[in-house]
Assembly symmetry: C2
Homo-oligomer: 484 residues x 2
């Protein structure tokens, strides 16, 4: 068996504690944060250095074994779903902060470093790392690079792609190469940008150089309660239209609030059909002036209660409800799908109305928790697996939400990635020619199709084929993957 041959080969570069072949231990790695797709990997390998990582990839190439990279396994699109006959290369042992260089506003990190750790290390120097996915306490920088992770504050600060200036990667051939550097921009193709968000299909990052951002002089946070999402949406539009760029503008609708209250007792205003959390950061003079404007916009658009965080503790309480919302939905529904789509901010009211209609038509409930400021929706479609037909209806609603996003000029994913889950939806946005053009890059880097195969693209291109386009469904849906 090829995986056995691979196991023998990697024993030359890895210690016995870096190789997992025992079935019960392999099962630990069968899924990432998208738990309804599960595949037990053929073998798990835990390199400790970039050189080991490159050697492992070369061994996979030599034995024709597909490989999947995994960080902390918190991804929500199944990007780190293993391959049954393949290797899962876990980068969490590459966990050193190589260098903190606050004077140049840079940090050099191994991929297994935890997102929040970077800010903790930078804070004493007056800096932090801006991209803040909800999973920031456990997700790794390598995973953030693979998925181009966002977070509540990417409205003002941008995605992971806006904060990575250099990478060392192992290519799908097993070469160690450098892309970019410390300078804000490097000559030649921006392969750095193409690699960030490539979801493991172009290789594995073994070192990541990131920007550090100055800690703001002031942070002020407000929670505003509205009768419904229309009013909260109008307030959001008014804030942005006035030229204010808050660090974050987050919205939760009635159902999301109900879930958060049940789970963490965040004490949001009673009777709210929607709440907005607006956070401003920056120089105190600016924040103070803009904060007053934000408050006015909220009142003018119907906010019936506004609370201003008096201190860090109250601010943390505002965020607690928001950050716990996904998990909290488990309190009010046995099962749910976390959807992720983007729309132009100006389309917010129409799109929320359409989602509501869609939910009623299909007899399912949808809770909305989202980054309102940048139009990044996270509808949570609730269902009960035990009730016949509900899962299918929830799946249909979830898919239809993406159609609505695309119709309004948006996108099928904002920050969770395509992975295995959304590959089938990619043709909603791109023509066959567009997708073939993307696959030119895939085939150039990975002509054998060994680096995270079956992810991102709906119809994998056989890299030998020139323009003859192979058609077929996502291989995961007809290749024995347990879909829960």
């Amino acid at each position: 068996m090829t995986v056995d041959a691979l196991a023998a080969a990697v024993r030359e570069v890895l210690g016995p504690d870096q190789i997992i072949t025992d079935r019960s231990r392999l099962r630990t790695y069968e899924c990432d944060g998208l738990t309804h797709y599960r595949v037990v990997p053929g073998i798990v390998l835990l390199p400790r250095t970039a050189a080991q990582c490159a050697a492992v990839v070369r061994a996979c190439v030599a034995h024709g074994v597909p490989f999947v990279a995994r960080g902390s396994g918190t991804g929500l699109s199944g990007g780190a779903l293993p391959h049954a006959d393949g290797a899962l290369i876990v980068t969490s042992q590459l966990r050193s902060i190589v260098e903190m260089a606050p004077q140049d506003e840079r940090a050099v990190l191994e991929p297994g470093v935890i997102n929040l750790q970077v800010s903790r290390a930078a804070n004493p120097h007056g800096y932090y790392y801006a991209p803040d996915p909800s999973s920031q306490q456990i997700c790794s920088i390598g995973g953030n690079v693979a998925e181009n992770s966002g977070g509540a504050h990417c409205l003002k600060y941008g995605f992971t792609a806006n904060h990575v200036t250099g990478l060392q990667i192992v290519t799908p051939d097993g070469d160690l190469v450098r892309l970019g550097g410390r300078a804000p921009d490097a000559p030649g193709y921006d392969l750095l940008g193409a690699f960030v968000g490539s979801e493991g299909t172009l290789g594995i990052a073994t070192e990541v150089t990131v920007r550090l951002v100055r800690l703001p002089e002031t942070v002020r946070t407000l929670l505003a309660a509205f009768a419904g999402t229309d009013e909260a949406g109008a307030a959001t539009s008014a804030i942005i239209a006035a030229g204010v760029v808050p660090a974050a503008v987050e919205m939760m609708d009635a159902l999301a609030i109900e879930a958060a209250e049940a789970a963490v007792h965040c004490g949001y205003p009673e009777g709210a059909g929607a709440v907005l959390i607006v956070e401003l950061d920056g120089p105190a003079a600016e924040v103070d002036a803009q904060f007053a404007a934000v408050e006015q916009f909220c009142r003018r658009h119907g906010a019936f209660e506004i609370r201003i965080a008096a201190d860090d503790a109250e601010r943390a309480l505002f965020w607690k409800g928001r950050k716990s919302a996904f998990a909290a939905v488990g309190r009010i529904s046995p099962d749910y799908i976390v959807q992720d789509g983007v729309i132009p901010r100006t389309a917010l009211p129409q799109v929320l109305t359409r989602i509501g209609e869609l939910a009623r038509e299909h007899g399912v409930r949808v809770a909305n928790v989202f980054h309102a400021g940048d139009g990044n929706l996270h509808p949570l479609v609730l269902f009960d697996e035990a009730v016949a037909g509900q899962a299918e209806r929830a799946e249909a609603v979830s898919g239809a939400i993406l159609d609505i996003c695309v119709e309004h000029g948006g996108s099928i994913t904002g920050e969770h990635g395509v992975g295995v889950d959304k590959a089938k939806h990619l043709p909603r946005m791109y023509s066959e020619e567009d997708l073939d053009t993307m696959q030119l890059v895939r085939c150039a880097f990975d002509p054998r199709g060994l680096s995270n195969p079956g992810k991102v693209f709906p119809t994998p291109r056989l890299c030998g084929e020139v323009p003859g386009r192979r058609k077929g469904p996502n291989p995961w849906h007809d290749a024995g993957v347990e879909v829960f």
Copy 2:
């Protein structure tokens, strides 16, 4: 002759006024802004639509004719240098603003639209287009995309790559495809990012969707005079270290000031060894508070005179000296090389000192005019072609400056691109494996090597070759190009 066959073929899609074959008219296109490389193109084609542009590229492919795209021809690295046996595809006839959508903070543009026109069209809606190369009155958006153009304000607002969210391109195969869209981020590979700055080697942009930025509430500009660049550099570092992000921080040294005075009589303070122009923009409350801090930092680091622009006219005068500096150098030297490199801001004092030593050792003068805030140097190396040996010494100094930049963790180009001029320098930054990895993308998109051949890469890869690496000099330097 293949160019004749191409001319016959394109007559089916282009009118006679869109095809130039007359030698004297072809000569108009023999160079771009980098005037010491000149090649008369085989034919010039002027498509008026994206479909015509695609048809022209397909005709080039069918006849095996290399093609080079050109916008306004203001580039400073020879990226639009024609091919003697090839077609020059000029995009300046594609010059419509397709859509202004200020409510979504987007504009959709044809590639021939002039940079400044975008801001002019957006201004009445309260928006502008942020990237502002010095040539903004004549350079085109298509050329900005090809070169990933910067400008004085990219310290705060970023490069062209940070402002393009969608493209329609003609691939080197002649397919029209879409990359990205209106949403801030699109699923799949970020080919948009790889295309922006690819200097015409991955195809031709036929439609560009850009972000519009809100006009700031206030702009305030200060001019500070120092004894020398050390003091001005220290003031720059202090401003940034305090967490202030000005819209621009520009520095000119004594020689650059002398040139500007001779040319435009900008009336900068007498006796200045260096001047800083610092511009802050944003909410009035923030700008006022930070402006006071900037003034203090300048005084604390030795500014002996500080002028604050009282109105737009005075602000324009401050900028006039800076913006005219490159051309002004012609007043004090018959010939000069405009260099472009990047260094970490913290290395500014050491690097300026080394450049000064280098100039003295080689007996040439170097004027420094640059974006101090982001460490983007533009040393102007002065020489006299008529004095034997001076051109060679100037070239040697100019090249050595790039070595200094790379040694200090910087890059061989900040915003002018690699083009034909710096291809030879790329191995100073990248290993052979790094460059081969970039060429994977080139070969995937352009396996025939017809799209702007001989640019960017020092050793073009024959795309059939798998890893056997062909070695050789830049083909421009041994293929009959007139190098002036």
